[in-house]
Symmetry: none
Subunit: 154 residues, 2 copies
Amino acid sequence: MSRPSQPKLTTADNHGVSVIQSQAHAAAASSSLQQVPQLVPATPAGGGKALPPSKMKKQPADKDSEEYRLRRERNNLAVKKSRMRSKQKAMDTQQRVNELKEENERLEAKIKLLSKELSVLKDLFLEHAHNLADNAQAPASDASSPAVKNASGQ
Amino acid sequence: MSRPSQPKLTTADNHGVSVIQSQAHAAAASSSLQQVPQLVPATPAGGGKALPPSKMKKQPADKDSEEYRLRRERNNLAVKKSRMRSKQKAMDTQQRVNELKEENERLEAKIKLLSKELSVLKDLFLEHAHNLADNAQAPASDASSPAVKNASGQ
DNA sequence: GATAATTGCGCAATGG
DNA sequence: CCCATTGCGCAATTAT
């Protein structure tokens, strides 16, 4: 699922199967399903007005009709477009996931770093606090007393 | 290995005559006629077939064949399954995006918090350092540290 | 080689 | 009315 090979196709006559248009039947298959042809509510003649909210069935879609063919083609185009978009969107979403994952890792790393820094600073603070306490208890020496001595307590 | 397919004209422009897929359902709705002219070589007689690199056309897929119908049905099932999965996957991906977004926000908030904490601690540190310096310079005063001004930055 | 999975495409119904 | 979406089937390809 990685190489969208081109859907190469050829002319209509290379496979013995492709049939061209001009087939005005909507037949139901034998066992399975198939769409159903519908009755024809005649042709809307005249000014084509007066369309009550009744059940109005569409004509069986004259496959030969120029109109029909035209609409079909347009729709096919629209379908193609829509599907393309859909696919594109999916890919974009996938990419978004990747980006977010990356971002996530970045943030996680940053958090780790900050935590570390914080931890160090806190330790320093505690150390200082102890020093101060010591100094308060034994304010004899004037300066330069980084050496830790007291080791009692908990 | 994989040979790139041939160029397939899929231009989104107007095709004069659209080639409809093989939809040669011969069955009629009203006037049922379940007789489809199928020209099938039937069972290959004779021994082995020597079909060298020639053009061998597939048979027009006998639509009436039980075999055919069976395969179609299976394929339809497979198709449905495949599409379902595809759709599901897309949804999952979308959801993943949402989750990651949330997670990111969470992390971002945490970073903000940690940064704040760090900033405070650093300020405190600087303050202390200044106090110490002051004490060293003027060790005569008692214990009245004036609020030091300081502006740390990042 | 057979079967299952994918993929492109067209049709029709339905929703804007 | 036109376009967009969507479910569905067919057939060709590809993967197992």
